[in-house]
Amino acid sequence: MNRKSRILAVAAMAVIFLTAVILAVHFYVKPKSDRVNIISGGQIVRTIDLSTAEDCQFDIIYEGRRNTVEIKNHTICVISADCPDLICVKTGAMGADSSGPVVCLPNRLVIEFEEASADGKSG
């Protein structure tokens, strides 16, 4: 491996790493909108406006498998599930300071913020 290709490879790796760091930080900043979509098996099953939503709990069922979703203090989280890894529960709440989507891959569930749309709402 000559000097030139070595520098090229290290530089490419550094660019990938730094881009990832910047995007990762960007991803954890404030959410873009108040509206969240709950997507189960690729279909939007519910859309909730977190700024006005009452505290509540409900189940999302996909092919007989269950995730219990809780809305509390204008944040949303999965409080229990019958998936094996419980990553969706450990992800915690999204709302006030986390815009990261809550994902439960075994149960095909995604809770994500709706992309800011032109509905005139101030974010």
Partner: protein
């Protein structure tokens, strides 16, 4: 090397990869992101890429993925680990032609990046949403660090076994 020796070597490496995989399952991670793992079992894959033939490496990876899914009891994760695993393997096989044995860590880091990419593409296809891509940067950051570590381990193993 005789065929018998080749089979035994591939079997042993699969076994080592599985043991690492099972032990790794017991190590808790401070953050929980879907699909985030240390991926220590990849040490064996990286080693195999540099020492064994393409066919043998692919067989070891396939056996490790399937048996790993059986041992972890998480068959649904097989799709993600397989798409990530093979994407990583393809990338490393191509890169190993350009990156010599003194820079295996670099090859492993690129492999980790492609592993994450493959996982996320599978997750996006399964959930039917693009928002899972939001996890890609975070996975890549940790993947690079884990890839660097597995690469250094594999590099040490490759260089030490060649001396004998």
């Amino acid at each position: 090397m005789t065929n018998t020796k080749r089979i035994v070597r591939a079997g042993l490496l699969t076994c080592i990869a599985l043991i690492i995989f099972v032990v790794e399952m017991q190590i808790p991670l401070p953050v929980s992101v879907p699909g985030m793992k240390l991926g220590l079992a990849n040490i064996v894959t990286v080693y195999a890429v540099y020492v064994l033939s393409v066919k043998e490496t692919a067989l070891i990876l396939t056996a490790r993925l399937i048996l790993g899914a059986v041992f972890s009891g998480n068959i649904s994760a097989l799709l993600f680990s397989a798409s990530g695993g093979f994407m990583c393997l393809t990338a490393m096989l191509i890169l190993s032609r350009f990156i010599d044995k003194k820079h295996i860590w670099l090859c492993s880091m690129f492999g980790a990046v492609f592993h994450n990419l493959g996982q996320i593409i599978a997750a996006a296809a399964v959930t039917g949403t693009l928002s899972v891509f939001a996890y890609l940067p975070l996975l890549t950051v940790f993947g690079c660090i884990a890839g660097l570590f597995t690469g250094i381990c594999a590099q040490t193993a490759v260089n030490r076994t060649e001396k004998n």
